[in-house]
Amino acid sequence: MKVKNNKKSAAAEQWSAPGVKSSPSRFRNPIGKYKIRRGPECIACGKCAELCPEGVHVKAGAKMEKPRDFYCLGFCCQNNPFYCIDKCPVQALRLVVNPLCETLGDYRWPSDLLISTWYMAETGEVPRSDIEYCIGRSNGGFDKMRFNFPEKMPEPVIPDDEISTTIELNRRNDGRPRITIQLPVYGGGMSFGSVSLSTMLSRARAATLWGTFGCTGEGGYPEHLAPYDDHMITQVATGLFGVREDTIQRVRIVEFKYAQGAKPGLGGHLLGDKVTASVAKMREAVVGNALFSPFPFHSVYSVEDHKKHVDWIKEINPKALVSVKVSTPTDVDMVAVGSYYAGANIIHLDGSYGGTGAAPDIAKKNIAMPIEYAIPKVHQFLKDEGIRDQITLIASGGIRTAHDIAKAIALGADGVVVGTADMVALECVRCHNCESGRGCARGIASTDPRLSEMITIEWGAQRVINLYTAWRKQLVQILKSFGMRSIKELVGRTDCLYHLDYQREKDEGRRAVGGGN
């Protein structure tokens, strides 16, 4: 089979961002931060519907519809002239925090982050309410870091359309194609089997339209992905499931998954009830039997074996870039250098905050080095080696928001990979039931045929597109605040960050959220 030529380099010049399209929740009762309770006093005068700019209140004929309180601005609306609670002639409306928020989410993804991400996935905009959309409540990691935004926007203020968020994936002089992606983000691998086909296709489509990449995960390459070949990364993982020369030749990037931060020291473990007939067929395994990927590649027990392995993939596809995905042991910096010398174009560090849909519960805990330690360690080590500018450093593992992305880059990464955030865009509620075949209430992490029907590709793709659009706007604002014209200027700029433990927050004048909206 002829290796596909890079048709995309010309197309990249003419790329334009996909549009935002409103993509409301699939469910009848979407979850918002606030609840508006309409009492029996209501006379259906429709005043609230006239007033509310967010469309919370809708009059249908003679009646008022149930309030779409997931759009409500909440208590911060109190001083607004259109605050419906005050303006209701019969005081029929009450505003409370949605009690669901007490049980929704966790420290890494508190309810605010989940709801704000849903909002962004629906609208492509950051929330206008007081909902938190940048920081989680983990009391560690990126949540303890803030940007050092200057008091004033540096002048002259750079227009938004002159700010670039593109990054290069091949910075080596190895004769292989240059690949530019429009955002410093691409999709993390989620195998067919751990997630449904519609989930895979939604992400693939969104990545394609956004001029970036998605990844197959370690479960093989479903033929449905063919339209997205140019924007897919084939993952070669230790079980070698579904890996064929064909799946290596049809893509532009191949990712070696040596390890995953969510389960370091273990390979993938797809539990038996997720090995449905279609999954078993794709992986050529036995239905209902758990599938283990070994921890190491059995053909790679030493770094020169790794080089051989990389050479092998490069021989099969002389145009493909190679990404090496590793978790974060204490010698991750040496691993990075070793991978460079083995011929990798991308080093992908997967930290411990990441998720997985293919591991037993006991494996999903925080082992390996947190990503915020690993990034600067590797960045600095590569600089000392004199090779930092020849390799693309990608970080992943719990990247949730545009601010997390920017922080990872400021610490020293070139870009990030996201996984869970895409799931949240598809309305994941973080219930942690992914490993069971019918556990996913949202039809995302399941190949059960009935549950898989819950997502249409058109809707799913648009949700992710909207989220990325909202992210990009925030990244532009962050760069603008620092007077930077390109995301590449932010790489390694730890001076733009401060850590709460090591620096007292300055006076109220410093804003925790970047200049602009």
């Binding site: 070698l240 064929r244 020369e245 992986r283 395994a285 039997n289 002389p318 070793g338 010398y341 080696e385």
Partner: protein
Amino acid sequence: MAEETERYGNVKLQNPNFKTVEDSDSRFQDLLMNDSAIAQKILASRRRLIDQASRTTCYKAEEEGGCGVTGFASSIPVGGKHIFEPSVQMHNRGNGKGGGIAAAGLCADDLGVSREILDDDYLLQIAFLDPAAREQVERECVLPFFKIDSSGKIPAVDDYRDIEGLETRPPDVWRYFVRVQENVLKDFIARSGLQAMPQRKAEDEFVYQNSYRLNQQFYASLGEKKAFVLSHGRDMLVLKIVGYAEKVAQYYQLENFKAHIWIAHQRYPTKGRVWHPGGAHPFIGMHEALVHNGDFANYHSVSEYLRQRNIVPQFLTDTEVSVLLFDLWNRVYEYPLEYIIEALAPTGEMDFDCLPPEKQKIYRAIQASHIHGSPDGPWFFIIARHDPYTRRYQLIGITDTSMLRPQVFALQEADGVQIGLVCSEKQAIDATLHSLSQEDKRFSPIADKYWNARGGSHTDGGSFLFEFTKDSSASAAADFTCTDKFGKVISTPKDKLPADRTIEIFSTPAAEAVSQMEKALEEKTAWQLFQFIRDNLARWDFNTLSWCCQRISAYGAAGDDCREKAIEALTLLIDFRYDTGAKKRSSILEILHRSLHELFAGVPKIAGKASGRFVWIDWQTRAKLRSPKKTETTLIIYAKEFPPEGDECDARLICAAFELGWKRFMVYGLRGQRFQGCGLGPDTEGVRIDVYDSSGDYLASGIDGLEIFVHGNAQDQLGQILKAGKLVIYGDVGQTFLYGAKGGEVYVQGNAAGRPLINAVGRPRVVINGTCLDYLAESCMAGDPLKGGGFVILNGLEFDDNGAIREQAAPYPGSNLFSLASGGAIYVRDPQHTVVAEQLNGGAIIQLTPEDWSLILPYLQENEKLFGISIEKDLLTVNGARRKPEEVYRKVAAVKLAVLTDVDDDA
């Protein structure tokens, strides 16, 4: 001293039971009683060395990763240029940041000293990273202690930049032939309480401690390193540089410097801009040098273990602690080599149970005492060693118990020269022999035997060594032997003789042979021609055989049909095993390959005008690659000068040729190049690749429909993710064979190494006629073989020296058969029921059914066609009697892991 006894209590074997149990091994008793006192004293005397040593040196500084290692021991001394070739071929295993060599069994003349001095003195070599430091180093560490019999700067080229690829200036090295001054030694012995030791051994200890002190003062404690000791053993030396190993030979002008034993190492460090070679291998103990491929998981534990014995590493790499362990067990505890190997690679699992009871007792004691010092993780050691007390020289290869690193051993024995080789890759062995055979016709480019070691086993102990006694007056060594860990001798048949390679012109044989040969050429098919030669070969002499082969290649030049017949006939002779009479098979193979090469070389060149079915291309003419013309069918690729991997390798040429329309390929002249058959993608029906000479790793990986035939032994990682098609190997195959394979039809004439078919899925159908090291089909998920799934047939056979089939000692000797498999099956030829449930890890041994037999029979029939292994006579005949299939074959089937199944292994 009481305090020291307690602190060093762990030097003695802990288990109190051993004081009371009757033990017939007197050596063992000696260890308990006498030597432990001396051992304690030696270790105690090192206390003052380490007082200044840093407290935090239990962590590795240099992260090795991997490398390539190679070594050979020859009964006649040979020049350093011969370690050049294999080192060059292993470039892809290193990254030019560090390489080193060691030589043992040296020539007094080459060193400019008398034989007595070479035999008696310590050969102290010091590398001066800072040339200005020499004066101080000598003043403080050499002159006050040693009687110097000879010294000087070793020769080197004038300007290191003259050596292409050498970017960092190697250090100046001074060589001193020394003995310790008498009063210095007396004083040392008195201070350290070593009066009970033989004086010469105390002198060894002094030299060791002095080198340690020098390293500490001028290397380990400094930021800016000044100097360090390269080696200090008797009749051996070490040199290392920042650069590829062969540059050592070039820079220090060792091309014609002769030694019996050479070892080399290509380093792949992943840390730091290296500007000095201190961290490169080999590292030394006393009279041995060690190189290492691998990476320990328990460096910290090993360092702690050594630290408890007052040994603190200075260079902070795995390799250094490996040889420190060796030296500890060798010189301080005075263990025999067998126990040292046991301490490094403990026998476990079923192999331990198979040991005789006396060995179990001793090994248990060794393991209990030294497990914390036993290196864990992938490793393979090659050690060049001189034991001056027995005057034996040894080249030792030891593999870890999980066999995570590739290793190949080889032996060649002829009248007058014997050579043993051990390498990470077979093609490095072939490169060494090739280099030697060009210079000295007594060496042959093909070894008589190639094999792997089974780590931690009771069969070979995961270790083989080549040893000899050096006879100073004679030119060749005496008593050259190859043994395994237990002392079992490996040898080649003495009744088979090599060809005289100095003869290049062959006289016409007797008229009858000539006319038969001519008739055969004209009238017979290739197969019949092969049969004719095979049937007569045993009684022919080398001259007749060579003449016949020359006739074949001359005949092949006549035209395409002749050429095709000739190639096929010679190939069949290379592939099959048969009686060779009094002639060595390796010599026959050399003759056959020579004629085959001549035949290939006579094929019309791609840039030329002539056209027929065959077209020849090589590295020089690669740019001329084009589509086949109308008559052209077969592309012959002379691979010798192609790089081993990368965009320009011969495997990529095959892909490009395939895209242009070529379907038949013959690749020859390979020296370890990789990836043949990879990259052609799907839609390869009708493609056939024949591979000759030393093919490399990853061959046939990912093939999807094509056929590939390897006419010889194959290397590692073959058939990874193989999807469909046919792979035939006329020889042995290496590590992780068919990893993640998804289908295909595969036939192996010989053995596989570690982890064949691991993680296989789908429907591969494989016949392995030999056995394998261990971990066969681990995590196999290949469905139900009776419903279209995959399986492996394991015959456990081998060819004897006369080409006849015989059973191996066990069809499966390892302890991990079909572990965690959820699909597929293993059909093992096991009429003696040697395979037991203890070797399984989740499978079940069940009776062969008629259905099973119908399933595997066609594959055994194809196997018979390919290799001549007869179903009736070889497979189903046991001890002379023909048996039923279900009495000979047993099935290892997958079981649902949650269900307990009784093993049903009695017919």
